[in-house]
């Protein structure tokens, strides 16, 4: 599903976030990327969704070299990937329902079917009763779950999450972790960057240290 082939990423003015990184994640696998702050976890996920481009090597997603995608091809890659961003990137002027609706609207789903999917996704993360709430009115854990609902509403085959349990109390964090386990169980490939790999027992570990595998 995902293959990194001697991937390097250097940010200007010369910060090596990743160097000569090679690994593979199989289809349907649940893997966590762990490591210290600044180890390169976010960069790794961004390379998969082609939010950043590698400065060396190749990143393959489903056999496709995503670093070489043209600007016009990027949207179609991103629609196949569900992503929970480290800073969530919720839209604060739209309610929960409309936030989750956005990816479906982008993909051009017919409104009626889309609305059903939005409700299903919100139910799945336990926000079924909060669809009218603005993100600002949600707790940290609820916001995180809203971000997850938005990432999965298009039923992607690959789910990426960047520190989805950060800033959450242990109980809420376990709750969120359970949601990812459920997606893994129905066959979704899940890749999670986290400082707390203990939340995902049984997941394969990709341990980063200063941009290289350890």
């Amino acid at each position: 599903m995902i293959r990194f082939d001697r991937v390097s990423k250097r940010y200007p003015p010369g910060i090596d976030a990743l160097s000569h990184l090679s690994f593979e994640v199989a289809e349907g696998e649940l893997a966590v990327v762990c490591g210290h702050s600044g180890a390169g976890k976010s960069t790794l996920l961004k390379l998969i969704a082609a939010i950043e481009k590698p400065t060396g090597g190749a990143v393959l997603v489903g056999g496709q070299n995503v670093g070489g995608l043209s600007r016009s091809a990027l949207p179609f890659l991103r629609r196949r990937i569900g992503m929970v961003f480290q800073d969530q990137k919720l839209l604060f002027d739209r309610n929960a329902f409309d936030n989750v609706m956005l990816p479906l609207s982008i993909a051009g789903f017919p409104p009626r079917e889309a609305a059903q999917r939005v409700r299903a996704a919100l139910d799945k993360v336990g926000l079924g009763t909060r669809e009218k709430a603005l993100p600002i009115a949600l707790s940290g854990g609820e916001q995180q779950r809203l971000a997850i609902a938005r990432a999965v509403v298009c039923r992607p085959s690959l789910l990426l999450a960047d520190e989805p349990t950060a800033h959450l109390d242990t109980e809420t964090a376990a709750d969120v972790a359970r949601i990812f386990h459920e997606f893994h169980q129905v066959g979704v490939t899940v890749l999670i960057a986290t400082y707390d790999a203990g939340l995902f027992p049984g997941a394969r570990r990709i341990q980063l240290d200063h941009g290289t595998l350890r």
Partner: protein
């Protein structure tokens, strides 16, 4: 196809939402555009009316001969006789001074003025249609008539028509220039308004892109926004021109009646109105497109 429709409906809805979300801004932008477009729209309206007048006014060139004030009926009869004998004349029409007086008195504004005068201010007149109405021949005829006794003034009507023609051409050029100038202004206004819109929607643009939105998806609501602003401005311009037409109808009609022209000032016709609205919407859309080209890559 269905997806396309859904996308467009959503984008239009979003644009309307943004327009209504900041009503004061929207109103001011629409007014600015409307007032700018009212100038070429009003110009086109006047021009269309003038063309209408020029079209209905006889375009066969004629020569008018006005007798001197002190010429009596005998002098007029003599001129009539001369004209009868003169070669190259297709038609002669005699308009007695009393006839002119009666007609002028029919005009509301003039009645009092004329009645205040001690004597009939109008001369006897002949209107002549020549068999050969090329300008050179007409000039020659006019020069000949000027020599005749008791003839005060000879006027070539074709000269007037030619002058009107030149004037209308000038008017058309002026309206075109005005349209170009203020159309550019409209593009500039929407360019800037949409830049501001993009700044306020930066988060939305970024997130949409991360979720797989194409450039088209991101641009669409802004283009609708620009087109709707332009359309609103076009509507304001149309209303302003229409109001001006109603307002000027009376005074202008009275004025041109002095020149024996019957004019009821008409508002912009349907084709011109549609053109105005379409051009306004199109230019708003263009302003949006240019703004997106300029700013979207950076956002």
């Amino acid at each position: 196809m269905k997806t396309w429709l859904t996308h467009h409906r959503e984008a239009a809805g979003l644009a309307v939402g943004r327009l209504l979300g900041a009503p004061v801004n929207t109103l001011l932008s629409i007014l600015a555009i409307g007032i700018a477009l009212a100038l070429p729209a009003g110009g086109q309206m006047l021009l269309a009316n003038a063309l209408q007048v020029a079209g209905t006014t006889s375009s066969t060139p004629q020569i008018s001969i006005f007798m001197a004030q002190n010429a009596d009926a005998k002098a007029a009869t003599e001129i009539a006789a001369r004209l009868k004998k003169f070669g190259g004349i297709a038609k002669t029409e005699f308009i007695a001074r009393e006839q002119t007086l009666t007609r002028m008195k029919a005009s509301q504004g003039l009645k009092d003025v004329i009645e205040a005068l001690p004597a009939n201010p109008f001369p006897d007149a002949f209107i002549i249609t020549a068999t050969d109405d090329r300008p050179e021949n007409m000039e020659k005829l006019a020069a000949e008539f000027r020599q005749w006794p008791k003839v005060e003034h000879v006027q070539l009507d074709s000269a007037w028509v030619r002058r009107l023609d030149a004037l209308l051409r000038l008017g058309r050029t002026a309206v075109l220039l005005l349209g170009l100038l203020l159309g550019t202004g409209l593009v500039a206004i929407t360019f800037n308004t949409i830049r501001m819109q993009m700044l306020t929607s930066r988060a939305e643009i970024e997130v949409s892109r991360l979720l797989g939105a194409t450039d088209g998806y991101i641009q669409r609501p802004f283009l609708y926004y620009g087109a709707l602003l332009g359309l609103g401005g076009g509507l304001v311009a149309w209303l302003l021109a229409g109001a001006a037409a109603l307002w000027l109808r009376g005074p202008l009609g009275d004025l041109v009646r002095l020149y024996e022209i019957n004019l009821v000032l008409q508002p912009l016709g349907l084709p011109d109105s549609l053109l105005l609205l379409a051009a306004a919407a199109g230019l708003g859309w263009l302003g949006g497109l240019l703004s997106l080209r300029q700013h979207l890559r950076q956002a």
